[in-house]
């Protein structure tokens, strides 16, 4: 029921929905993707040498939302999602996007410096 509510919340205009943009939290950066049909989703990024296996996302309960939280140092990090181990997709939302040189776009997440 909660899962259904989450998905409805994510889809219904007017209701508050969880942002699917990368979010900097105290535990790290939360990366999210909404994908109903994926069997697996992984985060491939400049910080994990573009590994399609080292940072798998987990389904949030039984919803279509996939998530992973990764502690990252301040700076700019490039990333994409890998669906079912083979399909590389540009994140729908990010702080910025840059050409990857191969005809696709990498998402960019910016981790701000820690204020002293």
């Amino acid at each position: 029921m909660l899962a259904i509510a989450t998905v409805i919340g994510a889809c219904s205009p007017g209701l508050k929905r969880p942002s699917l943009a990368p979010q900097v939290t105290s535990a790290g950066v939360r990366f999210s993707l909404l994908h109903a049909n994926a069997k697996s989703v992984a985060l491939a990024a400049s910080f994990n040498q573009w590994s399609a296996v080292s940072h798998p996302l987990s389904r949030v309960l039984t919803s279509a939302i996939w998530e992973v939280v990764v502690p990252l140092p301040p700076g700019e990090h490039l990333f994409m999602f890998v669906i079912d181990g083979t399909q590389w997709v540009t994140p729908p939302l990010a702080d910025d996007f840059v050409d990857d040189g191969f005809g696709a776009k990498n998402g960019v997440v910016v981790v701000p410096p820690i204020e002293r």
Binding site: C11, H35, F97
Partner: protein, 273 residues
């Protein structure tokens, strides 16, 4: 002092400075080969790519951005022949950035220099030219203030590259970024300023905002958080990436509709009277 320490380290390890520069390690090489072989290629396919990184390292340039790009290309399944020119271009940008750093800050060394060099090279990749960097440095130098550091210059150049990526005039962008540096914006604030302008590129292109206005506000003493206050929030991604409805989650594909059965032809109406 740092140079002396580095020379002592090189001497202790018995390495020439060229070899001491970080090159592609055996484990990294193995990982790149594995990626290629897993996708049906040959181990030697990656030789030309690794050579680019090795040669960069031999010149004292940081090779990590190059090996990361090689990894990215191979992981995404691209042919090494397609990856090679991209890596070569990145190497050229690193070399140009290195020459610029030598012009401006001969004493810089170590990881901090490498970080600045990589940032400067990225800005060159974003469309800023070496002459733009020289001009930026000239304008950003406030009279009577200490020289701009390599880090400060690299961040300013990267900030400018966001403006050039947004296809806004580089001359005005240079003046704006230089003003921000002179006004004491911190390195990450200059970066974020450039990024914010890029996010709002449609406002600038449509003339709803101008780089001159923003520069004037900075010159008046506005801080980064004040510059865009009260203005509409930008969309979260470039126009080209935006679907018809922003931020709409992906939907499962609709099942195809069955074809509509053809209607029987209407009998002709009698003419109205």
């Amino acid at each position: 002092m740092k140079l002396t320490a580095a020379l002592v380290l090189v001497a202790t390890l018995g390495l020439t400075p060229e070899l001491a520069a970080q090159s592609v390690s055996a484990s990294e090489r193995e990982a790149l080969v594995k990626l290629r072989v897993e996708r049906g290629g040959q181990a030697e396919d990656v030789d030309a790519l690794i050579r680019q990184a090795d040669e960069a390292a031999a010149k004292g340039l940081p090779s990590a951005p190059l090996t990361n790009k090689i990894r990215e290309g191979l992981a995404k399944g691209h042919d090494p022949k397609r990856i090679e020119p991209i890596v070569r271009q990145m190497r050229t940008q690193l070399e140009t950035a290195d020459q610029l750093m030598r012009e401006f800050d001969r004493d810089a060394a170590g990881p901090a220099r490498d970080a600045s060099l990589v940032l400067l090279a990225e800005s060159l990749g974003g469309g800023v030219t070496a002459n733009d960097v020289r001009e930026l440095r000239k304008q950003a130098q406030a009279p009577g203030k200490p020289s701009l550091t390599s880090d400060g210059l690299a961040n300013a150049a990267k900030g400018l590259s966001f403006i050039t990526e947004a296809k806004l005039p580089v001359t005005e962008g240079t003046s704006l970024v230089a003003e921000a540096v002179r006004q004491g914006f911190r390195a990450h604030e200059v970066l974020e300023l450039g990024r914010e302008i890029k996010r709002r590129e449609r406002d600038f292109i449509a003339g709803r905002s101008t780089l001159r206005e923003v520069r004037a506000a900075i010159a008046r003493g506005d801080r980064p958080e004040q510059l865009f206050r009260g203005r509409a929030e930008p969309v979260e991604r470039p126009a080209a990436m935006r679907p018809a409805t922003p931020d709409r989650p992906e939907r499962p594909a609709r099942p195809e509709r069955p074809a509509r059965p053809e209607r029987p032809e209407r009998p002709e109406r009698p003419a109205a009277r």
